[in-house]
């Protein structure tokens, strides 16, 4: 027996599979044409997709709009950069990020989860602003210049090793990681715990009468989102070799929200498609006109007005219908 929410999630899996297939094709084509730029751009798109994924866990599932998710993305990026400059090991950077992000998420979660709705949006925004200013003013962190000189690393995967400088290799590695983050999030959201998050979004007031505290699932969702954002951020300096305070800025958080809304909130996969779409769009439009903000602004307003469910929110029901037609187990 598969219920409606599980079926929606499966439809998301199908869409992710399509994206992975397309990515593999892109990687193959990239290798064949000796491309580095498009592969790195795609890698960057995936990294920001991870950030968008964390926004969607909060917005699309728990119903909490975070305008400050860049806080954790930047935290992950800086932490990873600092670790890599001392110990050039992916696993060291990744582990350090996971631990610190969990702690930071817990502390942040206790602060932000005291409020709801629009106040949640504003408090997350405020916290990220404070963090951005602190990084911007801290000389030990490179202040406004950020940190350059993050070394190229070899990621030891046991059977093989991938260089962060190899465009196709690192692209596939990031693809795998982001898909794992997606899969973990999707799995969690399909457990009784995850369903509680969805219920929280639908009608928070009823939850306590079903026997649950509302604080716990909110906090867990927030920590989870913080970790997804930070781990995605940790990949950034590996790709680009530097970090700068702009990673903490509102533009980063805002972009992630734009990504989720155009991609389709509450689908998880929308974050991935949205990020690919937006990254490509920005890169292309930016080359044609210096007034790309007008174009982005118009497209975005159009998406908010005419495509309220976002791209994947509109496409996914088609897949769901196909899945429903399949013979039942």
């Amino acid at each position: 027996m598969v219920d409606a929410l599980t079926r929606s999630m499966r439809a998301s899996h199908v869409l992710v599979a399509i994206l992975v297939a397309a990515s593999l094709a892109v990687a193959a084509f990239g290798v064949a044409t000796n491309d580095t730029f498009y592969l790195r751009l795609a890698t960057e798109a995936l990294i920001f997709a991870g950030l968008a994924l964390s926004v969607d866990i909060l917005l699309g599932y728990t119903g909490l709009l975070s305008l400050g998710q860049a806080l954790y993305f930047g935290l992950g990026a800086y932490l990873s950069a600092l670790v890599l400059m001392v110990i050039p090991s992916f696993w060291a950077a990744f582990a350090a990020t996971a631990v610190v992000a969990a702690l930071a998420g817990l502390i942040g979660g206790f602060i932000v989860n005291r409020v709801r709705g629009v106040y949640f949006a504003l408090i997350t925004f405020g916290m990220a602003q404070v963090a951005a200013k602190i990084v911007y003013n801290t000389r030990a962190l490179g202040a406004s210049d950020g940190l350059i000189g993050v070394p190229v690393i070899n990621i030891n995967l046991g059977i093989a090793s991938v260089s962060s400088a190899s465009p196709a290799g690192f692209f596939l590695f990031v693809l795998a990681l982001i898909v794992i983050l997606y899969a973990l999030s999707a799995y969690l959201l399909d457990t009784p715990f995850g369903r509680l998050l969805i219920a929280l979004r639908a009608n928070e007031a009823r939850i306590p009468f079903l026997g649950y505290r509302t604080m716990t699932p909110r906090l867990v969702a927030y920590v989870l989102a913080a970790m997804v954002a930070a781990l995605s951020g940790a990949l950034y300096p590996m790709l680009r070799g530097f970090v700068s305070p702009e990673l903490f800025f509102f533009a980063t958080s805002g972009n992630a929200v734009i990504t989720v809304v155009t991609g389709g909130a509450g689908t998880l996969v929308g974050a991935l498609y949205g990020s690919v779409l937006l990254t490509v769009l920005k890169s292309v439009i930016g080359s044609y006109t210096e007034h790309h903000l007008i174009v982005i602004g118009l497209l975005f307003m159009g998406a908010v007005i005419f495509l309220p469910k976002g791209l994947m929110g509109s496409v996914r029901p088609l897949i769901e219908r196909m899945l429903a037609r399949e013979p039942k187990q």
Partner: protein, 297 residues
């Protein structure tokens, strides 16, 4: 002892006085924001760009020879229909969806991007500055204050008083407050809710535009100027209580004084983080702000 007096006279007092001017400026921008939030429940992310729009319209009109004093009346009048159309044409399209906060916030965010780039397209990237309409200054007790800043304090106070009067003491204001408190109830009592909403949005936008005209002579005009006050204005609105006019005034004066003192005794660099920190703490302990919401309580 005389050193302490001198310190007060030459350092502390002017610092606080300057904080007051900044406070009035911030309040002027925050007023429209708080009215729009209190009534429509919309976080207007493009508010800063409407402030800039007011300044640019004034700049364009003054370059064809219109005097500053006329612009003070003309620009808000031009901004009113702009705001009205934005509310009816854009905000209303997503107003009735379930996640109104998110979608109106995103919509106005997109509008802000568009406007900022449009300013650059039309007026170029470089700054402009209108001549200060009142030059000179007043000196009292050894403290020097430029006349235009005194004028700003007086006019700002008058505008704030006028807005408070309209909202709290007139029939129009009563309709606005009724609509803010309970939309359906107000509609059933014959309040034309649709027009009240659009009108309030237009009013908020016009206030932002008026602030743009008033502040341009000291803060100059350039395409990204909208980002200047918006963070501070948001902070003021949150700390004061969204939708509360009294809250905006008190928080505006308080926070700018804190900034002035922080930049004197700690470092100007930390004045912004400290104020944002206050906002975060405020949201934690008293999310409704110092004064709560418009129409509530």
């Amino acid at each position: 002892m005389s050193e302490a007096i001198q310190y007060f006279q030459f350092v502390l007092a002017p610092q606080m006085l300057i904080g007051l001017v900044l406070g009035v400026a911030v309040i002027l921008v925050a007023l429209g924001l708080t009215i729009i939030f209190g009534l429509l429940d919309v976080i207007n992310m493009s508010h800063g760009e409407f402030y800039a729009l007011g300044a640019f319209i004034a700049f364009a009109l003054s370059s064809v020879g219109l005097p500053f004093w006329l612009l003070l009346i003309l620009v808000p009048l031009v901004m009113l229909p702009v705001g009205y159309l934005v509310e009816r044409g854009l905000i209303q399209r997503v107003f009735h969806s379930g996640d109104r906060h998110v979608r109106t916030l995103l919509l106005t965010f997109g509008l802000g991007l568009l406007l900022e780039d449009a300013f650059r397209l039309v007026f170029g990237p470089n700054p402009h500055r209108p001549e200060t309409p009142i030059t000179g200054g007043v000196e009292a007790f050894g403290i020097f204050v430029p006349s235009y800043r005194l004028f700003l304090i007086v006019v700002g106070a008058a505008i704030i008083a006028a807005v408070a009067f309209v909202v709290y003491r007139t029939r129009l204001g009563a309709m606005v407050r009724a609509a803010a408190f309970d939309r359906d109830m107000a509609a059933s009592l014959g309040v034309p809710v649709q027009h009240v909403y659009a009108g309030a949005f237009a009013f908020g936008v016009a206030l932002a535009g008026l602030a743009g005209v008033l502040l341009a002579p000291i803060y100059s005009i350039f395409p990204t100027m909208g980002r200047d006050f918006i963070l501070m204005a948001f902070t003021v609105v949150i700390v004061g209580g969204m939708g509360s006019i009294a809250g905006a005034v008190v928080a505006g004066l308080l926070l700018t004084q804190i900034q002035a003192i922080v930049s004197l005794y700690i470092s100007p660099v930390w004045s912004d983080p400290i104020v944002f920190g206050i906002m975060v703490v405020m949201l934690m302990v008293r999310p409704q702000g110092l004064f709560g919401r418009l129409g509530h309580g």
